[in-house]
């Protein structure tokens, strides 16, 4: 094992760790993407107008 492994200490075999890590990366990325999408939709729905009380 080289020193750079980002996997957290302990447990499972490395194969498993990599799978887990990729899943973790993917979920976080998709989550952030959804937040961006949500904001886009909110902007289009003119939430600003409502907030600004126009």
């Amino acid at each position: 094992m080289t020193a750079v492994s980002p996997r957290p200490a302990g447990g499972a075999s490395f194969e498993m760790e990599e799978k887990r890590l990729r899943k973790k990366n993917l979920y976080l990325a998709v989550g952030l993407g959804l937040i961006a999408l949500l904001l886009y939709v909110l902007a289009l729905l003119n939430v600003f107008e409502w907030v600004l009380g126009r």
């Binding site: 957290p8 890590l21 937040i35 961006a36 886009y40 902007a43 107008e49």
Partner: protein, 535 residues
């Protein structure tokens, strides 16, 4: 895919692929960093050429070189290209090169998406530039894209909007990658609070980007609808309101200026300790101040709209909220000064640029506080005082930090020291040229010269001439920068050691690696646990 180092040792024994395909298909954070930086450099020269057209026209009152419509296309494209094409990609280049080695990761978390976030950019830039050659030329509304003016431009408008969408997508993808990398790929033992300031400032910047880019995208989508599908989001005749666009734009626009300045803060926070031979003073308060600035940047946007006729309570709110930003910013400046206090300072080129940043950024901050006074801003608004303010923060702050980072890390990337004499020459010519260029603009503004106009009253002539001379000095000095970087990349110069700067090892993981860092597996053979523990 190089997400995790261990499982594919054999397939990564090779170096980079050969030829152009290496750059098109690369998923390597170092290659992608280089691509971002190269792209930024090209855009910097393109946007700079546009600025020189502007300053050449403004050398004398009256109209000499270009017609007014083209002049306004230049101010618009100059700003869009500099902000989205030069400064932001340059910081993304630094992020790609330096975040993985700073946190002990083998690469970015999502390498293929990384490739894509870069390669969207050249297409967006070409699209944007191509509008210059369309019927009626590029849009000439200024980078703020205000309706109804912006809706009056022809073929260029939909292409510009598409380009803005692409630029936004690219930024969001890059931000997602940075956040995931920082959250999931830190070396064991490198806690969030131990993470270097550059990573911290980029983390917060990435969140700002994800939260505001979609709002800009929404706003320009509505422009598109108003233009082509008969909606009236921003058209009073149909029950809409043009001021709504301003709110949407500046809800993006003010955080955007912090998107540019926070990574600059990060770079300077790496450099000042190294050349003071002391740890960064008050690092926890630095992190906290960055987060507070990030938060405040969301609630001050309408200080760009003091003259639009908001209700008085709104004017007051945005005035006080804006003034608040000076507090965390002051914390940062204090900490940088305290880091230097009683340090054994040396003034190599990166440090010179970092100090140039400090002086110029603080100056720009002061004029910002002047303009945050709503009643005073009725006068400053839309005149050259504003132009001077934001160039002190964006160029004096942002671009000088980019120069600083470039000289600081170039030896680490290439394994070769840049030419120190030429580096210092570049700094001094840039610093003097910059001040000659923008200092007089404060006085032009105070005397009443409006921005975005190709002609002016004769009493403004002398200061405009100073400004134009400064512009050409600053502009042509950047050719020297290209030469210095070229020489360094070619390997002409002294070999750089792994540490590069005396004592740098104690200032970050990256200085424990050889220069240049290995193409794959930056940390091969380095005891990362020990390096983290030594931090």
């Amino acid at each position: 895919m190089a997400t995790v180092a261990d499982t594919h040792g054999a397939e990564h024994e090779h170096g980079p692929a050969k030829g152009i395909l290496r750059w098109i298909t690369t998923t390597n954070h170092k290659d992608i960093g280089t691509l971002y930086l190269t792209f930024a450099m090209i855009m910097f020269l393109v946007g700079g050429a546009m600025a020189l057209i502007i300053r050449a026209e403004l050398y004398q009152p009256g109209l000499q070189l270009v017609d007014p419509h083209f002049f306004n296309q230049m101010t618009t494209l100059h700003a869009l290209i500099m902000v989205f094409g030069a400064v932001m990609p340059a910081f993304a280049g630094f992020a790609n090169w330096m975040i993985p080695p700073m946190i002990g990761a083998p690469d970015m978390a999502l390498p293929r998406m990384n490739n894509w976030s870069f390669w969207i950019l050249p297409f967006a830039a070409v699209l944007l530039s191509a509008t210059l050659f369309m019927d009626g030329g590029a849009i000439a509304s200024g980078w703020t894209l205000y309706p109804p003016l912006v809706l009056q431009f022809g073929d260029a408008l939909p292409f510009t909007i598409f380009s803005v969408h692409l630029l936004g997508i690219s930024s969001i993808l890059a931000s997602i990658n940075i956040i995931v990398t920082i959250f999931n790929l830190r070396a064991p033992g490198l806690t969030m609070m131990k993470m270097p300031m550059f990573c911290w400032t980029w983390l917060i910047t990435a969140f700002l980007l994800i939260l505001v880019m979609p709002v800009l995208a929404g706003a320009v989508t509505m422009l598109l609808f108003d233009k082509f599908f008969d909606t009236s989001f921003f058209d009073a005749a149909g029950g809409g309101d043009p001021v709504l666009f301003q709110h949407l734009f500046w809800f993006f626009g003010h955080p955007e200026v912090y998107i540019i300045i926070l990574p600059a803060f990060g770079i300077v926070s790496q450099i000042i300790p190294t050349f003071s031979r002391k740890p960064l003073f008050g690092k926890n308060s630095m992190i906290f101040a960055t987060a507070v600035i990030g938060f405040l940047s969301f609630i001050v946007w309408a200080h760009h709209q003091f003259t639009v006729g908001m209700p008085v309570p709104a004017e007051l709110y945005f005035m006080y909220a804006t003034m608040l930003i000076a507090v965390p910013t002051g914390v940062k400046v204090f900490n940088w000064l305290a880091t230097m206090w009683k340090g054994s300072l040396t003034f190599e080129t990166p440090m010179l640029h970092a100090l140039g940043f400090l002086v110029l950024f603080v100056f720009g901050g002061f004029t910002g506080i002047m303009m945050s006074q709503a009643p005073a801003d009725l006068y400053y608004h839309d005149n050259y005082f504003i132009v001077a303010h934001f160039h002190y923060t964006l160029v004096g702050g942002g671009v000088f930090a980019i120069f600083a980072g470039l000289f600081y890390w170039l030896p680490k990337w290439t394994g070769t020291m840049y030419d120190e004499k030429l580096g210092k020459l570049h700094f001094w010519l840039s610093f003097l040229g910059f001040n000659l260029l923008f200092m007089p603009q404060h006085f032009l503004g105070l005397a009443g010269m409006p921005r975005r106009i190709p002609d002016y009253a004769v009493q403004f002539t002398e200061f405009n001439q100073m400004s134009s001379v400064g512009a050409f000095i600053f502009g042509f000095t950047q050719l020297l920068l290209v030469y210095i970087v070229y020489k360094c990349v070619k390997g002409e110069g002294e070999k750089a050691s792994g540490e590069v700067w005396e004592g740098a090892k104690s200032h970050g993981l990256e200085w424990n690696l050889p220069s240049p860092m290995p193409y794959h597996h930056s940390f091969e053979g380095v005891d990362i646990q020990k390096a983290v523990a030594d931090e």
